[in-house]
Symmetry: C2
Subunit: 539 residues, 2 copies
């Protein structure tokens, strides 16, 4: 069953070896486990619903709890400490667009705030219930998950937007197709969620970001339905899909999406490569993308992430031998791990890998075959369960990400890691911060940093620490020319930093667009654009 206050299914456990825990203790001290909140107890504290009764709306306290938050660290703090600040007044599970329209019409009639809910995997506060005097309704689209149409000649599939990753891929795979969109949250996130938060998958180098995959769709807005036709390309004015992408619920609910699918590749490989240091690695991967190598993935870890991955992998003996071999080949303390994926027909994959390995060798890199790549592929959606395990051992884990131009990448990594370290140093706490580039472009890369630090055992202290760290890191990202999010979206957590990149005119334009279809401002207020609050009514 889906875990109510942690990641994923509660029958899945991702163990950490004693060596891994020892490694962490060395880095930042021993963790202090915190007692976990109990769902029954938390439910008893849920206030009465303020919603006028409706057949499609459940006011069951457990449902309301389960839809109150996402997966960001502040969300976890509330869920794990049992300190849930606000819950929606009800949850609806519409089964079709007509029911969505009925719910939006109900919301409009009764001045109810609506929070669209996909898979609940947001790590940026997209689901935060605002402190408003109006009642709040969460609308979950998870029952809308059918494939409506597969159009082979044009490689287009139309799905209801509530379909989860594995379900979507299974339905396509049965017909010989794939979307190829694999974000870390894949198992519990929805197609609709991917679109409205501008999600990016691990193999976007081949398949594209969701922006390239989302061809059109249907929205239900408070002002009515909005259909976006799927053209291969168009010069007919501004591309309105690009307003839906990243709209984070402010326009309404996406009920249907037409996506560009590909035939399943004949062959797929993931290779492990080590470089002597960061600079040599960055030169190699930058060349690969700028020379347009048809790879499916490049994922480059910095030295500390490389060390951490090897330490947490278990198999200490095996890793010991590997490290000896790598040292002998010139990859020591500063070594960086690159995972390199290629998919497609066998001949192209072979030729592409050969070309890539030539660049690797030119930079002193060492290829270690496909074993690590296979392991990574097997565990690609399992690693996120480590959050649960770490929490049980008294550690919090958080991630931030950005994208910036190649000129800024190296400095960005250092500055982000340093900003977090400095922020916690004020409390005399250490932080274990490490980084990888997850998505590479000719122009630059996404920079994805993970922070592990100890829980204090006190909700308020941990929240304050997170806030301080988040603010320091976000400011650093803005200052170094990065976008406030490359793949997680804006939500409430990044909203204060959005104007720095959109400009006053851009922010005004977005407000205007949203108010066109949502004049009462009922759709997910406070997300994306910070909402001025007046007398408890969000405007």
């Amino acid at each position: 069953m889906r875990r109510w206050n942690g990641w994923g299914d509660d029958s899945v456990e991702q163990k950490l070896s004693p060596e891994a825990l020892f490694f962490l203790a060395e880095q930042i001290g021993e963790g202090k486990p915190v007692p976990d909140a109990d769902l029954q107890q938390v439910c008893r504290r849920v206030p009465d619903s303020r919603l006028a009764p409706h057949d499609l709306i459940s006011t069951d306290p457990a449902e309301r709890i389960r839809h109150s938050l996402g997966q960001s660290l502040p969300d976890w703090l509330q869920l794990r400490y049992g300190r849930i600040e606000r819950v929606p007044d009800g949850v609806a599970f519409p089964e079709n667009a007509e029911q969505v329209r009925e719910l939006l019409s109900y919301a409009t009639r009764h001045q109810v705030i609506v929070i669209p809910y996909g898979g609940g995997t947001s790590v940026a506060g997209h689901l935060t219930v605002p402190a408003a005097t109006q009642p709040v309704l969460s609308i979950s689209i998870r029952r809308m998950r059918r494939m409506l149409h597969l159009e082979r000649e044009s490689q287009l599939a139309t799905f209801e937007a509530g379909v989860f990753g594995p379900d979507l891929e299974a339905q396509l795979r049965a017909q010989g197709y794939t979307l190829g969109h694999f974000p870390q949250s894949f198992e519990y996130s929805t197609l609709g969620g991917w679109v409205v938060t501008r999600s990016s998958g691990q193999q976007s180098l081949r398949y594209g970001r969701i922006e390239q995959l989302f061809a059109g769709g249907r929205l239900e807005t408070p002002a009515g339905s909005w259909y976006l036709p799927a053209f291969p390309a168009s010069a007919a004015g501004p591309d309105l899909r690009e307003l839906v992408l990243g709209s984070e619920g402010r326009l309404g609910l996406l009920t249907e999406a037409t996506i560009r699918v590909s035939r399943l590749p004949e062959c797929e490989e993931f290779h492990g490569v080590f470089f002597p240091d960061w600079d040599s690695a960055q030169v190699a991967v930058r060349s690969m993308v700028q020379e347009k190598f048809p790879l499916s993935m490049l994922r480059l870890s910095n030295p500390l992430e490389t060390t951490t991955s090897l330490a947490l992998a278990g198999h200490a003996g095996l890793i010991g031998w590997l490290e000896k071999y790598l040292r002998w080949r010139g990859c020591g303390q500063q070594k960086c791990l690159l995972l390199l994926g290629a998919s497609g027909n066998r001949a192209t994959v072979r030729q592409t890998v050969r070309r890539a390995m030539k660049l690797v060798r030119e930079q002193g890199g060492v290829t270690v075959g496909q074993y690590m790549g296979k392991k990574w592929k097997q565990g690609r959606f399992q690693n996120v369960y480590l959050r649960n395990t770490l929490w049980q051992h008294g550690y919090a884990i958080d991630t931030v990400e950005t994208a910036c131009n190649w000129t800024a990448v190296k400095q960005m990594i250092q500055a982000v890691e340093q900003a977090a370290t400095d922020a916690l140093a004020e409390d005399d706490e250490r932080i274990h911060a490490y980084t990888h580039l997850s998505h590479l472009y000719a122009q630059g890369a996404s920079v994805y940093t993970t922070f592990v630090f100890r829980l204090s055992g006190d909700y308020a202290t941990d929240l304050a620490r997170w806030k301080k760290m988040k603010h320091a890191v976000s400011q650093t990202i803005v200052m170094h020319g990065g976008t406030i999010s490359h793949q997680h979206g804006v939500g409430s957590d990044h909203a204060p930093y959005l104007q720095a990149e959109k400009g006053a005119a851009g922010m005004a334009a977005l407000r205007q667009v949203f108010s066109t279809v949502d004049p009462q401002g009922l759709m997910n207020p406070g997300k994306l654009l910070t909402a001025p609050v007046s007398d408890g009514v969000i405007v």
Copy 2:
């Protein structure tokens, strides 16, 4: 010198052989040359300027004439018959963003309508002077053409937006780079024009459409400056670049654009291929794009365009031999010409061409080497001069284009050609209509149809014929699920058909966005969104 009422430079002439003229006469009858208007005479009819004097504004009648229209067929009818309906009251040539701001502030103070002018190559009525009681100012950006910055590591170049294609490529080429954006209008269109009309180049298969090349920039709007930073990718809400792309002057003037450049390819090839018929050709090219072959161009002509190209090419003897050979290889009357381009490093080009030719052979296609491809490349920006030559011989030429999914492509071609034929048949005139796919996507293709028909010798008759044809064809495009433009933009000519694809909500959203930065509606009114007119004041 730039021709005032036709295409390009007046010293360039593209001749038509007697055989070519005979071919046309057979198809649609002999053309009746029409006397050409005289610039001096037209200038004498230019009314006095209604603008308050300003140092940056010229009210010279010849300049005003030269900035009154673009290159669409109705524009040509006005220019060639000397029946220019309206001219701007003045033209300004700002040299920097400060002067642009000064001009916009002047326009705001005096309620002056502003028409941004790039290279004047619009074929969709982007430059039409509205019938308003307010004075109209054309702002040409052609003096803003410097490269401001080349950032090699991130492959980004920043240019002033008024730079013309050849100047931009020359500045980049000197540094070993290319943008790779080659629309047919390349020689006379500007970077800024490409961006705001969503232009697409002939080698977009490799380099991308302008949407993928435009990374960010600076706009001057009546409400102030708007800077869009250049990130490699972002999930920070809707992508505002996508509002600037295709904004067609409604947001203000783009003064600066940062573009994604590539290193000059080591090698570039264009191969000629013939298929026995349309169906076999379509299967082959569709496979190539859906299997993500790293080609730079696929340009597939239908049988009539193939015949026409061969007939107009001259070299009747050579073509005769070629056709005999092709017939022997199974490519007869229904044969279709494909031009296939590949660019990059030599090994990849070789391998890609080899893979492509395998698919060609599987479909019964015949490769004829690189001769035709080379000829095409040499003449890629010269062919458009044929418009002048045809006009001199009494023929009008017009083009329409759309993009649709693969399922619709074949029917779209037939329907568009038929709609134009039927429209002129009412006047007992024949039309020579032929089509190619100019840009291919996994999802579908652009459909680009050329119409040649005889001039009547009477302005009003020719305009009425064009209107009837344009309306019939545009309706057909909409009815068959195509976008109203794949690469020419909306302007005034396509504006009536835009709502069919944007929806009422989309149209309202665009209006809101534009009014955010242009509350008085001074920026290029009537373009993109049709403007209601009230008492001669465009609102």
